[in-house]
Symmetry: C2
Subunit: 365 residues, 2 copies
């Protein structure tokens, strides 16, 4: 019940809606790999359950889980959250799930990007990634939504749209030769126009410092609504993040979106800087072919990595010194939505945060 189409969304009148448009629900995956999540993924599983529970207060949540952990997950996930069997190599639904597109007439379809674990054998995070690359297809089957199989390597976390024709990406990720080495910037823009139905591509430079995804935009900056962007920020000029955020700030302030608007850019404080503790690093098993976790490594924490749900925003809590200010900022940026903080450090230890582990299904009706 998911036809694979030979066309592309834009040509069929489909486009990616903004995350702040209404949803039918949200998909997640169950974390389990002990070479990425400490202590056999028990703490991460608790963190994912807390995120799922927070989102489920706003919209239906489905979690995919491999067969071996199904019963364990079912015993720990509240009954009002749907659990379906779904194999994966890890648990980053934003990146391995479909990017949904809509046609304004109540139909949804999904773009199934080619996935190579954030860089394949050239800097990617693990091998193999075969189960991950089937996740989008399987989600689309359950959703009974037709599928576009994209011809380019991409991840959902590498793109943000305003729903009105503007796409936000980073050069560090999208132009990285470990994704689509044969395609130029102009060719990649054309690809995004075709797969996402956008008109204008806004290029930021690097992503958050030491972000192992090669700088996904969804950890650095996102649309709050059309014409308004949130950006992670530090005033500490000696922090390596300063130069990155400053560059993004300047590019965003120089930009015009697809409707010709200037953007209002709002800064969210950077937590920390945060580092992996020796105890946290010890809890992660090492394995050939997976990225090792080392004590003291700088963590790419960012409050921008939130999920916008129907009527709410679910935000990672990362640092008691900055959590309050970040939540206050977000309350001001999202009037009419409830801002809910959920502890995010365990997710950050695995390499991402709340936005990375979720994927919205736009409303059909």
């Amino acid at each position: 019940m998911s036809r694979t189409l030979n066309t592309a969304p834009a040509a069929d009148g489909f486009r990616m809606p903004a995350e702040f448009a209404p949803h039918d629900g949200c998909w997640m995956l169950w974390p389990e790999r002990p070479d990425n999540w400490r202590d056999g993924a028990r703490p991460a599983q608790d963190a994912f359950v807390a995120v799922a529970t927070a989102i489920a207060a706003f919209e239906p949540v489905t979690i995919g889980v491999g067969a071996a952990q199904f019963e364990f997950a079912r015993a720990r996930v509240p009954a009002h959250i749907r659990l379906v069997e779904l194999s994966s190599n890890d648990s980053w639904m934003r990146d391995v799930g479909p990017t949904f597109v809509v046609n304004g007439r109540g139909e949804i379809r999904g773009v199934d990007w080619r996935f190579n674990a954030w860089g394949g054998l050239d800097g990617g995070l693990y091998f193999p990634w075969d189960a991950d690359d089937l996740v989008a297809r399987k989600v689309l089957e359950v959703e009974r939504a037709d599928r576009y199989r994209a011809t380019i390597v991409n991840e959902g976390g590498a793109i943000h749209v305003d729903g009105e024709g503007t796409l936000l990406v980073t050069e560090e990720c999208v132009l990285n030769p470990n994704r689509n080495p044969t395609l130029s910037r102009a060719q990649l823009e054309a690809e995004f126009r075709a797969w996402l139905g956008v008109h204008t591509v806004l290029w930021l430079g690097e992503g958050v410092f030491n972000d192992e995804t090669d700088g996904h935009v969804d950890n650095l900056a996102c649309f709050v609504r059309p014409g308004v962007v949130a950006l992670t920020w530090t005033d500490n000029r000696r922090d390596p993040q300063y130069r990155i955020s400053r560059d993004a700030w300047e590019r965003l302030n120089d930009a015009r979106d697809a409707r010709g608007r200037r953007l209002a850019v709002h800064k969210l404080p950077m937590p920390g800087p945060l580092r992996m503790s020796a105890r946290e690093a010890r809890g992660v098993l090492t394995r050939d072919g997976a990225k090792a976790r080392r004590a003291g490594v700088r963590l790419a924490g960012s409050y921008v990595n939130f999920y916008i749900a129907n009527g709410g925003v679910v935000v990672p809590l990362l640092d008691p010194h900055t959590d309050g200010a970040a939540l206050r900022k977000l309350r001001a940026l999202f009037p009419g939505r409830r801002i809910v903080g959920v502890p995010g450090r365990e997710i950050l230890l695995g390499g991402g945060n709340i936005h990375c582990i979720t994927q919205q299904v736009p409303a059909r009706g």
Copy 2:
């Protein structure tokens, strides 16, 4: 999104509807085990695809498939049939899937019977059956339907209802000590009243000769509509099936259903007798713990093992000498439904037929 309830359906105002009531769809599983299906299950997979395709002309079909075969199955199953990842030990959705119940107000729930592979370690067909015993739960998750976990061992193929309070079972199966050895006939009737919302239990004796399910009723007799039953039949008094069908005929003619009606009993011709060929038996791998397939063994073929879909009936074709007569009978019995024959021998070789590999989801609205 599937709460497990601590009550039972009858007490909550739920009952099992008849198969001939309207459906939202049909579930199946993908066959793959090479110690039950010959030639690596390739011919059986083709047969299942033909059944699914026939049913999909009448109502939406979903097939569950284990992770290892997902891509192979997706390449062979038509795109309008939904494929979801779902582990199982074999492919008998009738027996391992949920038995759905309705409340007449548009709600559906599912009864998840305890499953022991048709007899556990005392005559059961394989070990282990742990994945099978999770299938009903997983189907109910995808369907977002609440779940009753039954306290008794049972299979969907062991029960038929008229939707008006009458249940049809066989003593050979339901009273078999390899199912619920501590429960009496009266206690089992009370269990069925609680789990299925029925009032009257009609007991037949044995199931079809040499049926390895211990005589599931769904291979012997079924309701065509309230007050009307179809029964597999042979006029050959020297065939071991004669005595069985004759006994069922007499019991059915003596019976009164839950509404006090006498039953009209219609005979469907028995195919064959059919036997497994040497070539067919050679194609099945042997393995400790699974029932061996031997050349010459009598196959429990029966035209009663059909599936009633919305507006149609999908019937196994089993024997060119009897197929025509069986289809003519069914056309007369089901006015207003299209009768569709699908080759059923490959499914029969695995131990069942079309009814055994399907499970309907009653209409919600």
